[in-house]
């Protein structure tokens, strides 16, 4: 059978009969859609599509296959070395794969033997390299398997012969994501080799970019050296097709650093259905603070609010009917205002800030401006007395003859002297609020779902 495939693959698509194309497509099983040219698949469908039922059954051959999106999935794009010899094959192909974790009690195993040897070798190198930066990889016993149903054992080895050096970046990012249980975005592609402790240029970029465009990719990460070169020479106008070429950072020996932007774009943010652990880990992985804030507000804060609001309402039942007024010092770190506002849902918020904090105001306004009306007061005092005086005046104006028991003063953000002065400035009957959370050392962000709120009434 193998020799028949070779004969058929050697024919230019236009000379293949429908039957021959059909034999090829059926023989290659699940690989057909990934390896055969669309015109060959069209002929294969014509061989079988005799009526509407068969036509419906053959839809997969007429549609572009979807890349896998579940945790552990990745895909590599390769220029097929035998494409010249076998014109029925695509010049470049994308191969969907999956990093699979074996149970701890099972022996460590090699990668799926149906995968081409070159790819398995790179997968071994990826495992070794990623394990240096992500120790959990060593323990988890990962192996690479094809993410294609009906993957034929026979022909794959030969048809998929190719250089897989450029698969390193995709496999490595896939493995990082797999360890984090992250899901990949099928519109984010990459191609890049790793050697001598850094990202290295690759071959066949035009074919790979063309394939990425065909598969609807929006971004293709390429080695930094090549991105510059391509842009300079105007060699490939990928942008014209809606494909953005972005760099895999060269010049660093840290793999994760090289892949940082790629990983950030590749990982699909875990939605509300994901576990707290997954969302929390993802939140702390987001490199960009603004993006992290947005993620927190969308996928973490609602749950924190749901957890704490009943407790607050139980403690102060009138807040259930009548939203409180909130006073808070602008936070310079992660936006604690958003957290407090999110949980308390005040009617109005007075933001106290000094010159140093002024730069944070637009961000705070953007973050919580939609949730409650904001008032701002700039203070200039340095000493306890000056601060106390300013805060007392600001609170009096803010309350505007309303009773103090409607006021909540957030003592979480700000320097200690400011907090103490603000505490002293609180009118009788008002409520003090402190939010505590474990902080992540690397990002200086609160670890989601460790938040705890303390609320008490000040009666002097």
């Amino acid at each position: 059978m193998m020799s028949e495939w070779k004969d058929l693959l050697s024919k230019p698509p236009e000379t293949l009969t429908d039957r021959e194309a059909g034999r090829l497509a059926l023989g290659l099983q699940g690989l057909s859609r990934w390896l055969l040219k669309p015109e060959v698949l069209e002929k294969a469908a014509a061989y079988l599509a005799d009526d509407p039922i068969w036509t419906e059954m053959l839809k997969p051959w007429r549609e572009r296959p979807a890349l896998p999106q579940d945790a552990g999935s990745c895909w590599v794009v390769t220029v097929l070395m035998n494409a010249e010899k076998y014109p029925a094959l695509r010049e470049a192909a994308v191969l969907p794969l999956r990093w699979q974790r074996r149970p701890a009690d099972q022996p460590s195993g090699a990668h799926d033997p149906r995968l081409p040897e070159g790819l398995r070798r790179i997968a071994d190198r990826v495992l070794q390299q990623v394990a240096e930066e992500e120790p959990s990889v060593k323990e988890a016993n990962w192996r690479l398997v094809p993410a294609i149903e009906q993957f034929p054992p026979g022909p794959a080895q030969e048809l998929l012969v190719g250089s897989y050096e450029s698969a390193f970046a995709s496999l490595a990012a896939g493995l990082f994501l797999a360890t984090w249980e992250g899901k990949p975005d099928p519109t984010v592609w990459a191609t890049g080799a790793w050697a001598d402790g850094g990202i290295q240029p690759i071959e066949g970029l035009p074919q790979k970019a063309a394939l990425a465009i065909e598969w609807g990719a929006k971004v293709l990460f390429v080695p930094e050296q090549q991105q510059k070169e391509l842009e300079k020479n105007g060699y490939f106008h990928a942008g014209a097709h809606g494909l953005h070429l972005l760099p895999l950072r060269a010049g660093t020996r840290k793999l994760r650093e090289s892949l940082r932007e790629y990983l950030d774009q590749l990982e699909v943010p875990p939605g509300p259905e994901a576990s707290r652990k997954q969302r929390s880990a993802y939140f702390l992985r987001i490199p960009d603070d603004a993006k992290a804030r947005q993620y927190y507000r969308e996928y973490i804060l609602p749950e924190v609010r749901e957890a704490w609001r009943p407790a607050i309402h139980q403690q102060v039942p009138r807040f259930r009917e009548e939203a409180p007024l909130l006073v808070s010092i602008v936070s310079k770190g992660f936006d604690l205002q958003a957290l407090t506002v999110g949980v308390l849902q005040p009617q109005q918020c007075l933001l106290l800030y000094n010159e140093e904090m002024a730069t944070e105001i637009p961000m705070v306004e953007e973050t919580i401006g939609e949730d409650c009306a904001l008032k701002k007061h700039r203070f200039t005092g340095q000493t306890r007395e000056e601060l106390l005086q300013e805060f007392q005046n600001a609170i009096r104006d803010f309350l505007h003859r309303m009773s103090g028991d409607r006021l909540v003063v957030d003592l979480t953000p700000g320097q200690r002297i400011m907090n103490l002065a603000l505490y002293d400035a609180m009118p009788t009957g008002s409520f003090a609020l402190v939010c505590q959370a474990e902080m992540d050392k690397n990002t200086r962000r609160p670890k989601p779902f460790t938040e705890k709120f303390e609320l008490w009434q000040v009666n002097r």
Partner: protein, 398 residues
């Protein structure tokens, strides 16, 4: 389930239980208990293979093993047995490719031994496959090991290579020389249960048929006595011998006699019940098996793609093509077709539609599965079925 003969009361005429006992006592098998699978020695793997052979032989021949030596192979043992089995299959496949040369270079007795040994090894593959399948089924109940699934997949694949290498017309002709020995009959009589009903290709009459065709051909083409004598008198060194002359046609005849492990009618009996289109699970690739036939003179081939997950009311189409250029046999339009007793007519595209459900019913009722085409309803030779999985195509824990 295989019916087993109870030969435990000391009645083990061929000593198969004794061999099973010996295989179980191999000291190196202990390594499977004490070492990681990767660290198991080659000797232990070979012992695992011998155990698979011995156990599978008891199953295939229906020998009931006493409880103290009965059981199924543990997954690591089965995987090792499959690995060794694959090595042997590759060696035998290489030998199959040069069987003709070895035959030519051997004395007649040795040549016959070559074929007998080949057939003995084929029996061995049957035993190993039985032991592996049993281990796989038992393991599935425990959740299934991907290693075992893959090992069996690779073993099956290597087995297919050997079958293909042996089913060439030339090799079938050579293997058919053993039909006069009691070997094949002995095996057939020893088979039990399913194996007795669905015979492997070397026991299903294929070799006997090849032998018969070769004998018939020789009888028809041998010169009469007077001519023979004159030929011998005139014989020059370069003159082809009478036995060389018919060889190409003998090979064609042998090729026509190839038998496969699965035939189309066995396959459609095993299809799942038809479902509504909307109820079909989404699949990445069409799941289709294709039955093939060849016309008596080899001018045409017929395909019948069959959906492995049929839809209610789905017809199947028999399509006839010219062998020469794989083009549709439009010139056969209007010719009658009979398949499993159902009648149809080839349309202008050389195609005939059948109701899959009617075909299934006809086959279940015992209709003759032979494809017949043309005004004389000439039988066509069935070729190997393609695309029908020998085992479940999805791995456990996949």
């Amino acid at each position: 389930m295989t019916m087993r003969q109870d030969w435990t009361n000391g009645n083990d005429p061929f000593g198969w239980l004794e061999e099973l006992q010996e295989a179980l006592e191999a000291a190196s098998l202990e390594e499977f208990e004490t070492r990681e699978p990767k660290a198991v020695s080659e000797e232990a793997k070979r012992a695992a293979y011998q155990l698979a052979v011995a156990l599978g032989r008891c199953r295939v021949f229906g020998v009931q093993a006493p409880a103290d030596i009965d059981g199924t192979l543990h997954p690591p043992v089965a995987v090792a047995a499959a690995e060794v089995g694959i090595q042997y299959l590759r060696q035998w496949t290489e030998r199959a490719h040069r069987l003709g040369q070895d035959w030519d270079a051997s004395e007649p007795e040795i040549a016959e031994t070559l074929c007998a040994e080949t057939l003995e090894f084929l029996m061995e593959t049957l035993f190993v496959m039985e032991a592996l399948s049993e281990a796989f089924e038992a393991d599935l109940e425990q959740g299934g090991s991907r290693d075992l699934w893959e090992a069996i997949g690779h073993y099956t694949e290597a087995l297919g290579e050997l079958d293909r290498a042996l089913q060439t017309p030339e090799n079938l002709a050579l293997l058919s020389t053993v039909v006069r020995l009691p070997l094949l009959d002995n095996w057939r009589q020893s088979l039990a249960g399913d194996y007795k009903e669905v015979l492997p290709w070397w026991l299903d009459g294929t070799l006997e048929k090849v032998d018969q065709q070769i004998t018939e051909y020789c009888r028809r083409t041998l010169p009469a006595g007077e001519v023979w004598r004159r030929m011998m008198e005139r014989r020059q060194p370069s003159t082809p011998s009478p036995v060389e002359a018919p060889q190409p046609e003998v090979l064609v005849a042998a090729a026509l006699a190839i038998r496969m492990r699965r035939r189309w009618h066995e396959m459609i009996k095993r299809l799942p019940a038809a479902m509504a289109m909307a109820a079909q699970p989404a699949v990445e690739s069409p799941e289709v098996a294709v039955a093939h036939w060849r016309s008596p003179e080899g001018k045409y081939i017929a395909d019948m793609p069959v959906p492995l997950r049929p839809v209610v009311g789905q017809p199947v189409y028999l399509k006839v093509f010219r062998t020469e250029d794989a083009a549709k046999a439009t010139e056969l339009a209007g010719q009658p077709v009979v398949l499993a007793g159902l009648q149809a007519v080839l349309d202008e595209q050389g195609r005939a539609a059948f109701s899959l459900e009617e075909l299934q019913r006809a086959i279940q009722a015992g209709a003759d599965p032979t494809l017949k085409i043309g005004p004389d309803l000439t039988p066509w030779e069935e070729l190997p079925l393609e695309g029908f999985p020998e085992q479940d195509s999805s791995p456990p824990n996949g």
